[in-house]
């Protein structure tokens, strides 16, 4: 590898202190993310409680196949991300870059499928607002459901886009040989973030797609 660069910032005593501070900071950030999504989940739960039938009806119009496929795609991307971090730990630069690219591809596939779903919804006039149409007696509650569908999946997708951006940046840095088994905190942080986004989807999937299939 390149000549050892000093990667300990001036205000830290040593590498361990720097890494621990970084990890803790990242987890503190993840706590804010938990609460951020927690806010919408709470609102969703309240309205589901108020309009169970309407939410059920509306949920039925989503495609389980697309939703489940996307879940699988995202889980795959989590695996590749975990491998990317592992490669960084083991100082395997080629593998690191390879896994990051794979993760980006899988993430993009997720977004692609999501886009297909959105276009269906737009087609069916299920976008809340003036043009919303929902046949049957439950149109009020269904509109609420779709408000949440778009708000939640939209926020989730936004997080994925940010995550993909982070990985592009990581690839650039990795190519320049910035990471080593000693110093790879940014890869780890991005990994934590990506897995968190995955977890959000793990909850979104049943809540949005599966609530009334029985």
């Amino acid at each position: 590898m390149d000549k050892p660069q000093s990667t300990v910032a001036h205000h830290f005593e040593d590498m361990d202190q720097q890494r621990e501070a970084g990890t803790l900071g990242m987890w503190a950030f993840l706590v804010t993310e938990i609460m951020f999504f927690g806010g919408v989940f709470a609102a969703y739960a309240i309205y589901h409680h108020m309009y169970p039938e309407a939410f059920g009806e509306a949920s039925k119009t989503l495609s389980v196949v697309l939703g489940a496929t996307n879940t699988a795609v995202l889980i795959c991307s989590s695996l590749t991300m975990a491998f990317a971090v592992r490669s960084a730990q083991l100082n395997q630069r080629k593998r690191l870059v390879g896994f990051l690219i794979l993760t980006i591809i899988l993430g993009s596939a997720f977004l692609g499928i999501k886009a297909v779903e959105y276009s269906h919804k737009i087609h069916e006039h299920h976008v809340p607002g003036a043009s919303f149409v929902f046949e049957g007696p439950h149109s009020g509650g269904a509109e609420l459901f779709f408000s949440f569908y778009f708000a939640m999946t939209g926020l989730h997708a936004l997080h994925m886009v940010i995550g993909i951006g982070l990985m592009v940046w990581l690839i650039v840095k990795a190519q320049r040989g910035r990471f080593s088994s000693e110093y790879h905190a940014p890869v780890e942080m991005a990994g934590l973030y990506w897995h968190f986004v995955d977890i959000v989807w793990v909850f979104l999937f049943p809540l949005l797609y599966l609530i009334s299939r029985a």
Partner: protein
Amino acid sequence: MSHHVIPQKIYLLVFGTLLCLTLITVDVAFYNFGWLNMYVALTIATFKATIIVLYFMHVKYSPRLIWVFAIGGLFWLVILFGLTFGDYLTRF
């Protein structure tokens, strides 16, 4: 610390479990357990989230402080849900 390199096998095992659980949750959704439906789905989701946190996110191999933060976040979520529902479920 935190330098723990987790064997590939464990990652693959976790990955396999996650995929199976996804299939199970889809399948189970088509059986009717009445009011339990929601809880069945959420239990599976919680289990999936837990193994992601423990293995993919390395919490299992992390110091106590990280556990505290992860669980703390969850606990505050429970407060948010609990007290909000406390209002809706007791209105008359």
